[in-house]
Amino acid sequence: MSEKTRIYLQPWPIRIWHWINASGIIILILSGAQIRFPETLSIFSSYKSAIEVHNTAGIIVAISFSFWFFYYKMVKNTLDKLYIPDEEDIKHGLVRQLLYYCFWYFLGRPSPYHATPDHKFNPMQKSAYLAVMFVLMPLVGLTGILLLNVTPLRVLVLMWGGIKVIVALHFLLACSLLAFLCTHVYLATLGDYIKPMLIGWEDVEEHEEAEPAPEVVIPGYRPVRHYPEYERELLEQRHS
């Protein structure tokens, strides 16, 4: 028998940041597309308004990114734990999650990972967010800031290899972010991810018969966190 409990997964500052970031990135993609392909796209009324919207949205996203970093690193101090995959994630978690998405999900089996406030992301999420939030976003933001201030930051522009290198990098990084966005939105529909990002709470099924995880006695074994299935298997082995 099981009953539903609620856990507070996404605190309000993160929810506000997420949706500012999401709308900002969508506006950046649309305005950026018009800036690059003005002869085929006219989403905004004029080329100048597309540039102004792009610049404003870029500054807002850059500020919100800084806020995100400050909040997780300084206020909650959980940035490393949330975003950097640990040894177990790399050794087994990634493969397990990949197998779930590629096979188990289609067979109707449950996700091997369950989110908690301190471990919100599965190993694949961790790896993807690590690349997006620590490489793509900072790089696209920095190249954008350089393009916004070509004359005052002339030396920095030259240090990066010149304006054409920066433009090429900015464009390809933006394409990568759009590619990530497509995957991110799709994967959000595979589980209960959208509701917690809107209201903060997630409904979790809790099994009454579930006992606390036993102490592990196998020499050299490291406990796998947050994989209920795996923990159940261990429990069964112990009882038998």
Binding site: S46, G108, L158, L172, L178, T183, L187
Partner: protein, 362 residues
């Protein structure tokens, strides 16, 4: 021979003589109108004094080297200063021709523009130095404008509506926006970093500096390595990769120059340049400085400024200079992002019964 035949022959001879004389006159007229002949010797008489700084008042000095390169030198001094008195120099000013006598079309065009009430032809052009705009760099054209229009003031004024105004004013000849030209090309000129550093302040490279760098060879050989008077994309890439202190700056320059100066509303619309497509970006030239102050105009292979990285690394115009290969790579990246939603989504749809069954069981 009959007397009548003799009379006929005499008439034919007279007609032939008239035709020859008329042909001679036409030829002479053509010679005056279209082939000015060699006026060097005639000019030399004037330049023997006016070509020396110490011998004439400052305002009447004429740089012989630069004057010789002008179209006016071919006409000769007397074409404009016809009535030089026999007792010259007598302290009186020598009369000079009105530009309108030859350039009536340009004069009429100029009279319709904003400059007409501000200055005359000589406000911008020194007739002893003037050259065709195609034969000079875009930066050289702007130097004429900056004689009256203060650069800082203009940057501030344009900055009221133009984003990154300093960058725009540095990368465009004023006439691109302030005359109603239709066709454009990219005019490139050589700049040099101070202290031979890649990051040093960049200024227009002087002839002497470039000559030294070329090591006795013509300056153009720094870029046009095979000396065929044509710069290929590969030659440009090699130049940009190997030269640390020399760089090429480009300007979108009108192919035909109008003298009607105006403030055109269409140029306030960014799309005039930025949605101009790759067409005007295909043609480009490099203005290489010569010893006499003129420029050698070297054509560049088509599409230099559209190259992804190295053919013209310092020339970028949003929307117009996008590289096709980069677009393809970008599209490929986006398609990779669609593999999961499309591929996984399709299998998800096919296996939807499995999940419903499990939910029902639980």
């Amino acid at each position: 021979m009959k007397p009548a035949d003799l009379q006929k022959m005499s008439l034919l001879a007279k007609l032939a003589l008239c035709a020859w004389a008329l042909a001679g006159l036409i030829a002479q007229a053509n010679a005056w109108g279209f082939s000015y002949g060699d006026q060097t010797a005639n000019n030399q008489a004037c330049l023997s004094c006016h070509g020396k700084t110490g011998e004439v008042p400052k305002g009447t000095y004429i740089d012989p080297q630069r004057f010789t390169q002008t179209a006016h030198a071919n006409l000769g001094c007397e074409a404009c200063h016809a009535t030089v008195p026999a007792n010259h120099p007598d302290g009186n000013k020598v009369p000079k021709a009105d530009c309108r006598e030859c350039h009536s079309g340009i004069s009429e065009e100029y009279a319709r523009g904003l400059h007409a009430s501000k200055t005359a032809c000589n406000g911008c052009h020194n007739p002893h130095l003037v050259q065709n705009p195609k034969d000079v760099s875009g930066q050289e054209i702007n130097m004429i404008c900056s004689n009256c229009h203060n650069s800082l003031e203009m940057t501030a004024k344009h900055g009221e509506w133009l984003p990154q105004s300093e960058l725009h004013l540095r990368m465009l000849p004023c006439i691109t926006c302030h005359t109603g030209a239709r066709d454009y090309y990219i005019s490139m000129y050589i700049v040099k970093s101070k202290g031979d550093s890649r990051f040093g302040k960049r200024e227009v490279a002087e002839y002497d500096e470039l000559k030294t760098m070329a090591g006795g060879r013509p300056i153009v050989s720094l870029i046009d390595t095979n000396r065929d008077n044509y710069v290929s994309l590969e030659e440009l890439r090699v130049f940009n990769r190997t030269q640390t202190s020399l760089h090429l700056y480009g300007m979108m320059t009108p192919a035909t120059v109008s003298h009607k100066f105006e403030i055109l509303d269409s140029r306030r619309n960014c799309s005039f340049c930025h949605t101009s497509g790759s067409g005007p970006m295909q043609t480009s030239f490099i203005a290489v400085p010569e010893a006499d102050g003129t420029f050698l105009r070297v054509p560049v292979e088509k599409g230099a400024v559209l190259d992804a990285l190295y053919a013209a690394p310092d020339f970028y115009m949003m929307g117009s200079t996008k590289n096709a290969k980069l677009n393809q790579i970008g599209l490929a990246i986006i398609c990779c992002g669609l593999i999961m939603p499309v591929g996984h989504g399709f299998v998800r749809f096919l296996t939807r019964k499995n999940r419903k069954q499990k939910e029902h069981q639980s």
